[in-house]
């Protein structure tokens, strides 16, 4: 009983439970008001950070082929490593505001074309050198020049020229973009000495932790960098342990070998949260699971057929059965409340077999089964989700045939190649970036082949529009257009579901990415 109360009082201190609820539970357990009050106050005292300790984080998404080169990072462990030892010009705060790091401030001209970053003074690299605007310039050049192999190459393409001038770093764009600082918050764009031109994988950055052990695919240890300019992390060191196997990761948390794990399987999240020493943190984010149709390929070039399929999917059922409630329903456009300037008034599309049947009939489809390609690697539970889709479509008289593809090679052979398949998107910090990445005519990853000049025009207009009210209106129009005509069926937005030991304090929900957008080791502390 006292264990349960302790757990509950910690929840109150963390703001996850109201005081009133706590007193109610305490009374139900037969505890007097006085005792309950004293428990609450000791829990509040425990909220003062404890210094020191070695934090262990169990993560999926690490391979022995990983390197510390920021340009090559593409999975969770390299991301988490970059967060530890490196820093970008700016970060996106949990509130969606800019959090200035290597840059101290930023100014734009009236059209949003020329952006000038003031570089912070007295920032030291782990090799003892002082960071200059030259380093920033070289870093950006390495990610954007012609033979770059960087994962950030796509977002660097709109840049016309860059220059370093004393304490300032200036970016000139071809067309105005009100979101440029958000683009430069991309996790690949970690500032390296001399831009990392000579030794990109050296692991030298300006972050709050420096590299201690680097064993790709096994573990990465970082210790606090004592010359860090900003707020010091509470812990002494952090160890990112690669635990790709779901069961191994969960067992490691349960047996107390790690303090936190990412990607808790929704199937076991509810069970795991019942363990007395573990909290399951579920944070709504911009990530989403999708079924994508190529709007230029038969039979998906027919708007009625697309609408038929959109009405034939049961979103609530998917959130309940695939995500076990750890997520929210989608509305066939890739934006949700996690984004700034989201229009919540757009009506939610519901499962409607009658309407689906009507559109299907109008499309004149010959009745042959529509092939949907899936693999479990497309998103967790993709094969099951496809089966649910098949059933709900069947009810509307639409035959779907599920073709299961191997995980291996799914992203190179199926996604962005086959006309109808399952996929996922991790989301982006701002709407412009999400749309630019996948819905602009010229985008490399336009995986629905959505090439509509009117849509492009709106996107470009919104990009250089500095008035938020007008911008919101344009984004709303774009969302409606995509929802009613586009090639994506978006049944659900998935939460970041993570398991955290109760000895970890200071957790803040961050919708940008998992593990508090990678900053859990910077902000959390370990209670002895």
């Amino acid at each position: 009983m006292s264990k349960e109360l302790e757990h509950l009082s910690a929840k109150v201190a963390a703001g996850q439970m109201t005081r009133r609820d706590f007193m109610g539970r305490a009374a139900a357990l037969g505890v007097s008001v006085v005792v309950a009050e004293s428990m609450l106050s000791s829990a509040a005292q425990a909220a003062t950070p404890t210094k020191g300790g070695h934090m262990k984080v169990g993560l999926q998404g690490g391979e022995s082929t990983n390197s510390l080169d920021p340009a090559l990072a593409a999975s969770t462990v390299p991301f988490q490593n970059l967060r530890a030892f490196g820093e970008c010009l700016v970060n996106v705060a949990p509130t969606g505001d800019l959090d200035f790091r290597a840059a101290e401030s930023v100014e734009a001209d009236s059209e949003g074309k020329v952006w000038t970053f003031k570089i912070r003074k007295g920032v030291e690299f782990h090799n003892g050198k002082t960071m200059t605007s030259e380093d920033v310039l070289k870093t950006m050049q390495r990610h954007s020049n012609e033979d770059a192999t960087s994962g950030a190459l796509g977002i660097m393409q709109g840049i016309e020229s860059m220059k370093a001038d004393g304490d300032y770093f200036q970016v000139t764009l071809g067309t105005g973009n009100a979101d440029l600082p958000y683009l430069l918050a991309d996790y690949h764009l970690v500032i390296q000495p001399d831009g990392g031109m000579d030794n990109p994988g050296a692991g030298i950055g300006t972050g709050a932790f420096k590299v201690e052990v680097d064993e790709p695919g096994v573990r990465h240890v970082f210790t606090r960098f004592e010359n860090y300019y900003g707020e010091m992390p509470h812990i002494d060191s952090v160890e990112n342990i690669v635990l790709n196997d779901n069961t191994a990761r969960t067992a490691a948390l349960q047996s107390g070998q790690v303090h936190m794990i990412d990607r808790v399987d929704p199937k076991i999240a509810a069970l795991l949260s019942r363990a007395p020493n573990i909290d399951v943190r579920s944070v709504a984010g911009p990530g989403h699971y999708v079924f994508i149709m190529h709007v230029d390929t038969a039979p998906f070039d027919n708007l009625d057929l697309r609408l038929a399929l959109k009405y034939a999917i049961n979103r609530e059922e998917m959130v309940e059965k695939i995500l076990r409630g750890y997520g929210s329903v989608g509305n066939d456009f890739p934006i949700n409340a996690a984004y700034p300037l989201f229009d919540a008034s757009i009506p939610q599309r519901q499962y409607d077999p009658a309407k689906a049947a009507e559109h299907y009939k109008k499309s004149g489809h010959d009745g042959s089964p529509i092939i949907l390609r899936v693999a479990d690697g497309a998103f967790p539970g993709a094969v099951d989700a496809a089966a649910l889709f098949q059933q709900s479509a069947q009810a509307a008289g639409i035959p779907l045939e599920i073709k299961r593809e191997p995980n291996d090679g799914y992203w190179s052979e199926v996604w962005n190649k086959q006309p109808f398949c399952a996929s996922y998107w991790g989301g982006r910090p701002v709407q412009d970036q999400m749309y630019t990445t996948a819905y602009l005519s010229t985008a490399d990853w336009n995986d629905t082949r959505w090439k509509v000049p009117a849509f492009d025009d709106m996107l470009l207009a919104a990009r250089s529009e500095l008035d938020p009210v007008k911008r919101k209106e344009i984004y709303s129009n774009m969302a409606n257009m995509l929802r009613d005509e586009g090639g994506l069926i978006l049944p659900m937005f998935n939460d970041f579901v993570e398991g955290v030991s109760t000895s970890v304090k200071g957790w803040i929900d961050d919708p940008n990415f998992g593990m508090m957008n990678g900053f859990a080791p910077h902000k959390c502390w370990l209670e002895a």
Partner: protein
């Protein structure tokens, strides 16, 4: 030259040819796999532009035969080259990882081989009585379960419920030996359970076979105890088939630990190979494949030699 020495030289030469053939086969298979290292690295983030850049950087834009012979030339001069993906020298990585894998296999072998043979002997001694049935039942049950299942069961009880052993094998170079052994206790237990039955059953069958012979009857008639008969007279004559199956299992302990390594996040060769295949890192796949093939070939040569040495008729051919 002694006939046995000739045989060894012959077998080694054949082994080298076999290794080259294996490497060609592996290379051919990796070429058939969809995608390449550049696509695997960039994944969903691939654009035509950065794909082409990365391919050129890795030299993947050259013909397959050129790449294979370049690799073969390298390996024949003792240079395994660098990994395509993280550019680290493969020899260093394999050196570290192989020592971890050998460490795990060594302890698993040290426990499982004597245990299997002892259990086999006990099973023969109490043939068709309850100890025999119990031993056969338990070992056959454990070999019938998939490895990952045994692993999960052990993790559930010994790591999550009892907190006796760590749930994953977090091992690092500076650790004291006792801590290292504690870290690998569960993987060693799983491997032991997996290989036990095969060796135990073979020991039992081979000895029972010999027990039908006339000289065993003589030994029994002169009044030796059953265990002495098995140990002194039956076992030496049954050694050849037992050694063959032991070697096969030792090879399995080195080569077949992939699943166990993945479940326990153990930093050995298996994990390295799996990651390399996923990322289409062909030089690493080739290096691992050739090493695994070499382990099999060498252990098989040893098994053959032991069978010959254990049999006087083969040892002194007329």
């Amino acid at each position: 030259m002694h006939p046995i020495l000739t045989l060894v030289v012959q077998r080694l030469a054949l082994g080298i040819l076999l290794l080259i053939a294996a490497s060609a086969l592996i290379f051919g298979l990796t070429e058939i796999l969809p995608g390449d290292a550049a696509q695997a690295i960039l994944g969903q983030a691939a654009t035509e532009e950065n794909l082409a850049n990365l391919r050129a950087e890795m030299g993947l834009d050259r013909p397959a035969l050129t790449r294979y012979f370049e690799w073969l030339g390298g390996i024949l001069t003792g240079d395994m080259g660098n990994a395509l993906t993280n550019k680290l020298p493969i020899a260093d990585q394999i050196g570290k990882r192989m020592s971890y894998t050998l460490f795990l296999s060594f302890w698993a072998a040290l426990i499982s081989v004597p245990l299997a043979i002892l259990l086999g002997l006990i099973a023969v001694r109490y043939q068709n009585r309850w100890p025999d049935k119990l031993i056969s039942g338990v070992t056959l049950a454990s070999i019938s379960l998939p490895e990952f299942m045994i692993a999960y069961i052990l993790v559930f009880f010994f790591a999550v419920k009892l907190f006796w052993a760590p749930s994953f094998a977090n091992i690092s170079p500076g650790m004291p030996l006792l801590e290292q052994l504690h870290a690998i206790s569960l993987p060693v237990a799983v491997l032991t359970l997996v290989v036990l039955a095969h060796m135990m059953r073979m020991t039992r069958a081979a000895i029972l076979n010999v027990m039908q012979s006339a000289y065993i009857e003589t030994a029994e008639l002169k009044g030796l105890t059953t265990f002495t008969v098995i140990y002194r007279h039956a076992f030496p004559n049954a050694i050849a088939p037992i050694v063959t199956v032991v070697m096969l299992n030792l090879a399995y302990l080195v080569v077949g630990v992939v699943v166990v390594e993945v479940v326990f996040a153990y930093p050995g060769m298996g994990q390295y190979l799996v990651d390399a295949v996923v990322k289409r890192d062909v030089p690493v796949v080739l290096a691992c494949g050739v090493i695994f093939a070499a382990v099999y070939i060498v252990l098989n040569i040893i098994a053959d030699l032991v069978s010959i040495l254990a049999n006087p008729r083969l040892r002194h051919p007329k």
